[in-house]
Symmetry: C2
């Protein structure tokens, strides 16, 4: 019966994510099982595993999607766009994709902040996304050293903007905060 319900569900994945986030915050990450998540979402465990490899992936699969989005934007840019500008455009693009997800992003961050293992996983994901961005830049012909530095700068701006965005009392747009970060980079680097 529950399985039958899930077949009608237009967004099983979204319901699983929502159920997981709720439970991680209510009971703690370690105390929550895949069975609990499926039950809360009104779906079966089988359905869960069609969407996620394990409960941790509910928190981190979004980073992979954002990485792919970012690399897609980068690959579509004209070859003469300067390095830092191409990084800015790619990162503002993912910030735009995330604009309507502030409440979920805030919950997710609270879950990660409460758990050392998840913080480590998050750092590893960040390192992977940074390496992928550097790789995307070298594919555009940017020399290695410049690509690595530009990717590090871009991801630093992204993550700092992300932290500001989820808690911003004025609820400014994510892409605007990212844009501000790139402006700040310019003035910082020029030695103001």
């Amino acid at each position: 019966m529950i399985e039958a319900m899930s077949r009608w569900s237009p967004d099983a994945r979204g319901r699983l994510e929502q159920a997981a986030f709720e439970l991680f915050l209510e009971r703690g990450y370690d105390q929550t099982t895949v069975a609990d998540i499926a039950l809360r979402a009104g779906l079966t465990e089988r359905t869960f595993f069609r969407h996620y490899a394990d409960k941790r992936e509910v928190l981190f699969s979004g980073q992979t999607e954002l990485k792919d989005e970012m690399l897609g934007v980068l690959a579509g840019l004209a070859p003469d766009v300067p390095t830092i500008e191409s990084v800015r455009i790619a990162i503002e693009a993912i910030a735009s994709v995330m604009r309507d997800l502030r409440a979920g992003a805030r919950k997710r961050q609270r879950i990660i902040d409460a758990h050392a293992d998840l913080q480590e996983r998050s750092l590893i994901k960040r390192a992977n996304v940074t390496a992928a961005l550097a790789d995307g830049l070298t594919k555009r012909g940017v020399p290695d050293a410049e690509a690595n530095l530009a990717a590090d700068l871009g991801m630093a701006i992204f993550y700092l903007a992300f932290a500001r965005w989820i808690d911003d009392p004025q609820e400014r747009e994510f892409a605007d905060i990212v844009h501000e970060g790139f402006e700040q980079l310019k003035s910082l680097a020029s030695g103001r």
Copy 2:
């Protein structure tokens, strides 16, 4: 007898580090015990534990020392030194401290690169050092957002320069490679 030897040793800590690095490379990190390290160094386990909490710390205690060195330099700078300049000076200072340690740094990196857990630990250490640098900047009156970005930039330059330094075929000085990184940041940020 061995303990007596250790009392005469002018540099038990250095001998323990050298023994640990050798064994980690010969046998693998997981296959090496504290007893093995002490034996190779001609010291007792008790002496080992006077210097390091565990075998992992042999690899990572240096990062804590560098962090303290960096914060000391930062604290001693005149208040009117611009943010990015103060970060550059602090990071070039630690690069100078490390100048004679290239062979050890190279071994250490090979050990870490071969082991996923150590790579994670290294990322966590990097995040901690970055947070400490940001904190050191806010103590100089730099606003939070600027301090966080400057710390991220500085550590990005440091780690990229470090990777280049340990494998540099021309054996250039670490501080010179760091300096180059800050020049590259300037030209990148200005949108070349």
